[in-house]
């Protein structure tokens, strides 16, 4: 494979064979080595062959092998002759991150950290197949999927200001719960307000470094040692079922034999099935927004009870990591509506875009990039350059580089907990095995990932945070 080095952080695979556009990879030489070890590049080239793809198929610095599309993959499709693909979004639709600021400092929470974490752990169900505390009817669940975070706020979980500070304002208007299968709804009913398992987490963090104080201030972050709360989770079983349902429906309708990978199955955006997927996916996106909204509400409640106040716990932002949506982008010098797929990638819009709330419109949107367990996480700011270089997208996290099996063989959950305690990080989890699997050493270096984003200019460094308390599903 011909990999052309454009500059220190940009590599390109020229158009060849059935590729309709070239592939561009944003990575350092170290990250590229890791990317080359699995099928990421092959998968990115497969994406470049899909009908109606525009400009380039992109791989973000944290890219790794996925199904059909790579994780860390960004692709845009023409609305008339392009496609929409469940594999381009992923199984965990709107897996994403929400960040709350507080006006507490490290010293304010230090003594009560254990209590805070224990209370949150008690109120926010986490772990495999864990149901929530809310008993919903089918009708209410459909309402949640229609209105997203708006439903949660209307029902007393949070503030209107939270909605403004959520991607899509917490509600994709394209959602139509009528297209959800009975199974998707049944899987969603017990799971609203639950964290889930795997790489999902809730962290109490402190600000560790501020790179851009002016932008940080606009995001509500003013001091080193300031306490923040980060919530990482998605649409749970409901979203997974939507992906499986539409992969099956598209398979039954369209042939898979001419696809290089069965998981690349897609439907024309304008087709009935393509539209149905989009409306169902939007419903799952809304479920995830409502889910994070309710968890955030629980967190504020716990802070109120344990520390006596939740004042100043404003939402910084809430971003999607797995989503498809319609956006305007400049292609060949002309503004054009396209269907963007971001799979394990974060929208990174720069100043001026009307999609971002007024409070941030002069600087660009907050981009939240969670690290792995016990490591730093980052807040970046979106850029105009990203709109030119990656359809307004950047990385979404550290990206796995070691199998869970291997991680279990090398690390012990008990030891990891002890090591983290030594660094002043408290850990609450449903089981040891999950902790071993999520060991930081099983992931790429998030510092390196965000550095590439910063150097390429697709997301600029604003704040670095480190955990003081971690809750794992």
């Amino acid at each position: 494979m011909e990999l052309e080095r454009i500059n220190a952080y940009t590599y390109k695979i020229l158009k060849r064979g059935n590729m309709k556009v070239p592939t561009v990879i944003y990575a350092s030489s170290k990250l590229l080595e890791s990317i080359k070890r699995d099928r990421t590049l092959e998968q990115a080239q497969n994406v470049a062959c899909l009908p109606g793809i525009q400009k380039m198929a992109y791989v973000m610095p944290d890219g790794h092998q996925g199904y059909g599309f790579p994780i860390g993959g960004v692709a845009a499709f023409d609305l008339d002759d392009g496609v929409i693909s469940p594999g381009g979004v992923g199984y965990d639709i709107n897996c994403g991150v929400r960040l709350l600021k507080t006006d507490f400092m490290e010293k304010d929470v230090e003594a009560k950290k254990t209590g805070l974490l224990a209370q949150i752990f008690r109120l926010v169900p986490a772990g495999v197949g864990k149901g929530g505390i809310f008993q919903l009817s089918r009708r209410v669940l459909e309402d949640v999927c229609l209105k997203g975070a708006e439903w949660a706020v209307d029902n007393g979980y949070g503030m209107r200001m939270d909605l403004e500070r959520t991607e899509e304002y917490g509600r994709m208007k394209s959602a139509d719960p009528n297209y959800l299968s009975k199974r998707a709804i049944e899987r969603g009913i017990p799971q609203l307000g639950t964290l889930g398992a795997g790489n999902h987490f809730l962290e109490i963090q402190k600000v560790d470094n501020i790179y851009d104080p002016d932008v940080a201030k606009i995001f509500g972050i003013h001091s080193l040692g300031q306490i923040l709360v980060m919530i990482h989770c998605g649409s749970r079983g409901l979203g997974h079922q939507v992906a499986s349902d539409y992969i099956r429906a598209m398979e039954n309708k369209y042939r898979t034999s001419d696809l290089p990978d069965r998981e690349l199955i897609n439907a024309p955006i304008r087709s009935e099935l393509g539209q149905q997927y989009y409306k169902s996916m939007s419903a799952a996106v809304n479920f995830a927004f409502a889910n994070r909204q309710m968890i955030a509400h629980c967190v504020r409640d716990v802070f109120q009870k344990v520390l006596g106040s939740s004042e100043g716990m404003d939402q910084v932002y809430d971003v999607c990591h797995n989503v498809a949506k319609f956006e305007k982008h400049e292609i060949d010098g002309k503004e054009k509506d396209v269907c963007i797929h971001r799979k394990g990638a974060t929208r990174s819009f720069g100043p001026g875009r009307e999609e971002i709330p007024e409070v941030y419109r002069s600087v660009g949107q907050p981009v939240i990039i969670p690290g792995s367990m016990g490591t730093a996480s980052y807040i970046l700011v979106g850029t105009r350059q990203a709109e030119q270089l990656s359809f307004g997208s950047t990385a979404h996290g550290a990206g796995r580089m070691m199998s869970r099996h291997e991680a279990r063989r090398r690390f012990r959950g008990e030891q990891i907990k002890q090591d983290m305690a030594g660094k002043g990080i408290e850990l609450q989890s449903t089981n040891w095995r999950g902790i071993a699997e999520e060991a930081a050493q099983a992931y790429k270096d998030v510092d390196e990932v965000v550095n590439v984003s910063h150097e390429v200019g697709i997301g600029k460094l604003v704040v670095r945070v480190v955990p003081v308390g971690v809750m794992k599903g």
Partner: protein, 158 residues
């Protein structure tokens, strides 16, 4: 479509009567396994056990609840995905933890395959402690082979 499985099977035959149920292979981000059987049904059932092994210890689950299973697929790959997806559906919607899959039969009907049988297991309750999550069953690197022995290979999203 069934391919002839030409690889050496001796590694999975622990003894003449004792077949290895499944084995896990290295996969960076997810979990990849091969499940074996003397029949297609046995290989499918062992794929169920491999999937469950990522989430809980099925030996510890009671055999108190019976869940009928009936799935279809336009090919064997789709049949397998739909079959394994039943575990996740029953877990999320009914808090059902599987102990075993029994009386599983696969038949060909016109343009499709049909699988029928039942799962035995128990309600999640307060006592069981699952340890891992499977988000979805995928077609990624899926292989179904038949010779004297049957083998199915699956990657699941975890």
């Amino acid at each position: 479509m069934l391919f002839l499985w030409v690889s050496d099977c001796r590694g999975i035959l622990v003894s003449q009567d004792n077949l290895k149920k499944y084995q896990f292979l290295e996969h960076t981000a997810d979990a990849k396994f091969q499940a074996f059987g003397r029949s297609l049904e046995e290989a499918f059932v062992n794929a169920v056990y491999a999937t469950v092994s990522l989430m809980w210890d099925r030996e510890k689950i009671g055999r108190k609840i019976q869940q009928p299973v009936k799935v279809q697929g336009r090919d064997l790959e789709q049949l397998l995905v739909n079959f394994l997806e039943e575990i996740l559906y029953l877990l999320d919607s009914q808090m059902f933890l599987l102990h075993s899959a029994e009386k599983i039969k696969i038949r060909r009907e016109a343009e499709r395959y049909v699988l029928e049988g039942h799962f035995l297991g128990d309600d999640y309750g307060k006592y069981y402690q699952p340890y891992g999550d499977v988000k979805a069953i995928t077609y990624n690197e899926m292989e179904i082979h038949a010779n004297d022995l049957f083998m199915v290979q699956v990657v699941v999203d975890v």
